[in-house]
Symmetry: C2
Subunit: 490 residues, 2 copies
Amino acid sequence: MAEKITPRSENFPEWYQDVVLQARLADYSPVKGCMVIRPNGYSIWERIQKEMNDRIKAAGVKNAYFPMFIPESFIKKEADHVEGFAPQVAVVTHAGAKDLDEKLVVRPTSETIINSMFAKWIQSYRDLPLLMNQWANVVRWEMRTRLFLRTTEFLWQEGHTCHATLDEAEVFTQRMLKMYHEFAENVLAMPVVPGMKSEAEKFAGALRTYCIEAMMQDGKALQAGTSHNLSDHFAKAFDTMFLDKDGKQKHVFQTSWGVSTRLIGGMIMTHSDDKGLVLPPMLAETHVVIVPITPKAGTAPAIHEAADRLAASIREHADAQALPYRIGVTVDKDDTKQAGWKFHEYELIGIPVRIEIGPRDLEKSQAVFTRRDVGVKEFVPLADLPAKIARELKSMQSELLEKARTHRDQNTHEVDDYTTFKKLLDEKGGFYKVPWSLDRAAEEQIKEETKATLRCILLDESFKPVQAGKPCFMTGKKDGTVMAIFARSY
Amino acid sequence: MAEKITPRSENFPEWYQDVVLQARLADYSPVKGCMVIRPNGYSIWERIQKEMNDRIKAAGVKNAYFPMFIPESFIKKEADHVEGFAPQVAVVTHAGAKDLDEKLVVRPTSETIINSMFAKWIQSYRDLPLLMNQWANVVRWEMRTRLFLRTTEFLWQEGHTCHATLDEAEVFTQRMLKMYHEFAENVLAMPVVPGMKSEAEKFAGALRTYCIEAMMQDGKALQAGTSHNLSDHFAKAFDTMFLDKDGKQKHVFQTSWGVSTRLIGGMIMTHSDDKGLVLPPMLAETHVVIVPITPKAGTAPAIHEAADRLAASIREHADAQALPYRIGVTVDKDDTKQAGWKFHEYELIGIPVRIEIGPRDLEKSQAVFTRRDVGVKEFVPLADLPAKIARELKSMQSELLEKARTHRDQNTHEVDDYTTFKKLLDEKGGFYKVPWSLDRAAEEQIKEETKATLRCILLDESFKPVQAGKPCFMTGKKDGTVMAIFARSY
């Protein structure tokens, strides 16, 4: 509590770590690269799960659960997949006091184990589309880890679907990307750029990967969600086939898509400040904390009673307003802590609205209102507070999004040549919109020389790459260039 | 679909497996002992999670998430714990393309990794009680597995709490057992006997284990939930200490408690029948299916419209009744399937209420109502159906519990001697209430000779063992005998 948060301007990565640890969102564990998600962080994940689950189910997808262990031979069945994931897996070689005949890989993702079941369940076109999702832990052995953003074990949802045609799979892949886009903006208040990954950056085993990319306050990019068109790559590896209407056996076409606890890290780096966590109301469990100020002995009972009454009327009004979440209101009557300590604590852990009420306020039938992101105290008549709070929570949600969008737009630069790009990137960071030739060697060279990567190829309304009509900013190639975003990233 | 379910009377274990597989609740996976939970089964787990989570949070417990991997040395720190779990663990020896310096155990339960964090977080008495829970997958390498009942990987919740005194820990251990008891009866409609495990059967590392034991339709027992008073055993192993009010450093006293996906297996074996799954309405996602009967061409539009109107009014009425769950109503308009096929299917997957409506019914403003557990068709005026359905769902929930309780009571026998016990056990199965001397060697002998185990020692209202006041049914010892239940079990 008494620790100081490193200011963002001084050291952004240290600021991030300070916020996560001091707000008790997560902690380092004794197992290298694995984190503990503490209650303050896990309640955010529960809100994300609830909102995402509603959207997934509305798309007709059903939840299921597949084993965490995958026979090593499965991982090897799809050539690109094994190349991508083999270096990252954790392997169980010993179980039940015996060496295993076949080693088991702890899932880094579940395409293979799920296809082994799909192959068994799917018989005919009547079984399609088959739309499933699971909420699970996955493991990818990472060299450099960072709380929430990149951990050896993380929590996520992974959707897996089967379709009769490549077109249907493509439509569903796009639909899920749009769902993630809407979710990031409306729930996390995090503006994102939707796009397509390059061949070098796409999912190991996919035909095509779509993604949403967010910009953090330091101008770096964060991949916040991906949706893959797997074509029939895994279906061929696992013989996942169906009898079509025309009487022919065909391979299914598949999609997979996922978001993870990384979203919590992205949300923190989008909104929080030097005082601690700033939490969009959609993700809060407690939205309002009322701090009774009881300087003189004997004032407490009347103030506490007024605070309780106020809490009840805030809840009642919020219910009537049908907010898109259940409002959480607490009254902090703990008399072992000073008011100043409490203000600091609630700013640190990101309670969206703080109300103070003391004897003089009570005399004037008012209280002090402070919104976490704005930080300005306002005296408000008690009778007006419930309506004001419901209104301000809505405003806060949309203003956080707009503020982040403005920051993103102000730090997105259009450049046409590599020299300017390198210069600006070092000076300002941010996103770079450039004409791009899709040259894989050039992409690798840019990464080596600048540490910037191709975040995504921009798409038009119909998910086709936006044509640049200009020479490639790096290679100077003229034909078929598209618009792409390069940036340094997490 | 066309497969036959083995009747219970013929072969109970085969019946169980047939129901689980044919109702598509779960399936065998390619990994030995691991199951796939299919959407029909997972939706039951989601309902269990929701209801249990509400109760856990109401007890002031907060959800968190701890790493799945546990350093091997941690498991060895508590002597009884390592003895109990070492033979069952899966071990990761290799990760990120390297051999690990220290092997990692996949959690069989999380007391050890959680204590390593508690030791860091807890400083003073102000930090107590510390009440946490996690929803997670765990792995215990089992020789003989059975879908839901005993699988190598399973899903569960595990609560872990720290208290300043042994008394407080004991009170909380009992509170969580009462919560499980209430949950089993009110949500799963599964009557249970609460009790205490013997020294031989208690949790590895606990001072004392309380449990709830259910009786399946074949008379066998199923342990459905456990709550452990861990005393300071793990606190001592991990130095989990706090500065007490008296200025002294003391070890905390702890509890842990859990229920798992095994509950789904217990629920199936409590209620289901030779036609398939019988699902308590509290656990259903879809409560009512309306099957339009459209024998003649041209009748479909009017019947479908009537069915949709009926569905809407059932939903509306249920909302007004404030049922303890959101009612699910579907109209099955699929014209590629016969009505007979549909009836069979919905009985198999356990939809609590089926409504049929055809042209003649519509003329008479009526429909056919059938409750899954009762199986008798009734003609009911359309106007009366919404109220009848809400009423019948409530009745079904309580009648399933009462029916199971009657079965349990009729198959619970009080015997005072071992010869009668052995004879009755072979003839009738069921539970045996006996005077018991707490002799560990005798307990082992009974297990070897009869395959029956001590399910629990019966407790009075204040959680003290019920004194038998009779000689032990096995050893004849006279002093200090208590009442206990022996039975064969899953």
